[in-house]
Amino acid sequence: MSDVRANEAAGYDGGDTVWTEKTSWLDSVPRSVSMLFVAAVFIGVWELVTSLGLVSPIILPTPMETFRDILFVGENLISGGYMLQALWITLLEVVYGFALAIAIGFSLGVLVGETSFGEKAVMPYLVAIDTMPKVAFAPLFVAWLGFDIESKVALAAFIATFPIIVGTAAGLHAADHNARMLFKTMGASRWQTLVKLKLPTGLPQIFTGLKIGSVGVMAGAITGEFLGGGKGFGELIRVAASQLNTPRVFSLIIYLSVVGLALFMLVAWAQRRVVFWRKEQVGAATEH
């Protein structure tokens, strides 16, 4: 009763009121529209900078030139031209490199995360190597494994292994005290505790490692090709750059990013399938 009076006193007439929280108009624009908007601004500035002649065309091609080259490269890829062969080689390096990184990273991760020997004797070395700029090992891999894909696979795997080790080792420590105690009361063996408790609990971290690794494996393969030759996509970029064919460099990089993004999305998709009980943001690669 008194509420109603208070409302009346405040000039409230008893009708329905619909109210919404105030948000900035910029935040209420749909995602697709805002993304397109940012792309348009980016290309507009790019166009302006190049058409006004602020930057030499050798350094920065116009958006139109780049777009034409993207179409050209796309045509070559679709018609199974030499670029497709180069892309295929790079893809092989990435796939083999990632598979190797997963196998080694996971095994070492379990060793380090599960045994005190691993934690005491192996982890310090892994940390030491992890702090090094791993790309600097590229010439060594080339010297050891030659100019074919092996050296690139090795570098790609080398870079991608560490985040997977870290993710796995951290994941194995994620199970809380209660859960461990419960497994103890059930008389679970060490193996059972690993497989039925620690690994499933650690899956989110393991996948974080895999996502970071999937980014690293691309970087490793391309760096390997820059420094160790061969016939991959990185070599195409290197050649185009040496000929000052900047539109080509740009379009090749764009195709490479598509491949990288696809690999990342694949891992994210696998995570959503496997770790179905946890909803996570797709873009969480850098949460480390």
Binding site: D176, N178, M181, K184, T185, M186, G187, K196
Partner: protein, 269 residues
């Protein structure tokens, strides 16, 4: 300080001895904490025991020693005639958190102890039993649901089923319902009584609530801190089955007062 060893109950459960603790002590190396000193107890079959005492007086430590999760520094523990030297199959345990695993459905969580003990084939065979158990705690229809969709009370009920699936002779309960709201807690306590009576299980409950201890148990163990020891055994001779309205009886009030008086003296010393 061997007074604790001399404490003998006036009455209480009359069954054959199930658990026997003699002069159990525990000193944690880290920090030189004497968590327990000279605890001697006999738990009888079908009895419901509640332990109450101020925070840090060694209740959880006592429970862990009885469960074989941590070794005593002194003394010995026997269960059904055999010394406790590690986790045992005839012990069921429950903690404050339900700890259901989110990648397993409710029924898979309930079957976990069987799966660990006897393998997945045995777990499959025990499925009808798990369904029955879930039904008795009102979780029929939630068998294939993942724990993320259960409320706190439902999760705790599922974890009771998980504890019971191996048909343990004794139940060790460390504040199992203290994370629940009062209504859910009362309900779960009555549920617990029903289960224990139906199975003639021996139960050992750690709690912070005097009322909960009195309404559930045949015997309340009052513990004193620093060093942790059992100061008094209070037999609770309220008739069974207990009902929630017994809390209004003078007999109940007198028992609560007696335990509270005992606790207050120790808690602030």
């Amino acid at each position: 300080m061997s007074a604790a060893a001399a404490v003998t109950p006036l009455r209480g459960p009359q069954g054959e001895p199930v658990y026997e603790l003699s002069r159990v002590g525990k000193t944690y190396a880290r920090g030189h904490v004497t968590a327990l000193e000279d605890v001697s107890l006999t738990l009888r079959k079908g009895g419901f025991y509640a332990v109450i005492g101020s925070s840090g007086c060694g209740k959880s430590t006592l429970l862990k020693i009885m469960a074989g999760l941590t070794p005593p520094s002194k003394g010995r523990v026997t269960l059904q005639g055999r010394p406790v030297l590690g986790p045992r199959r005839d012990i069921g345990m429950m903690f404050q958190q339900a700890t259901l695993f989110p990648w397993r459905t409710t029924i898979q969580n309930v079957l976990l102890p069987i799966e660990i003990r006897d393998g997945p084939a045995a777990a499959r065979k025990a499925e009808p039993r798990a369904r029955e158990l879930l039904e008795t705690v009102g979780l029929k229809g939630f068998e294939s649901v993942y724990p993320g969709q259960l409320s706190g009370g439902m999760a705790q009920r599922a974890s009771i089923c998980r504890m019971l699936i191996t048909e343990p002779a004794v139940l060790l309960l460390d504040e199992p319902f203290s994370a629940l709201d009062e209504l859910a807690r009362d309900f779960m306590n009555m549920e617990l009584q029903r289960i224990c009576m139906a199975r003639e299980a021996t139960a050992f409950l750690v709690t912070h609530s005097i009322a909960e201890a009195v309404i559930l148990s045949d015997m309340v163990l009052v513990m004193k801190p620093r060093p942790g020891r059992v100061a008094e055994l209070v037999p609770i001779d309220l008739p069974r089955p207990r009902t929630l309205d017994m809390v209004t009886t003078p007999q109940f009030g007198a028992l609560v007062e007696r335990i509270r008086g005992r606790l207050d003296k120790e808690a602030f010393l």
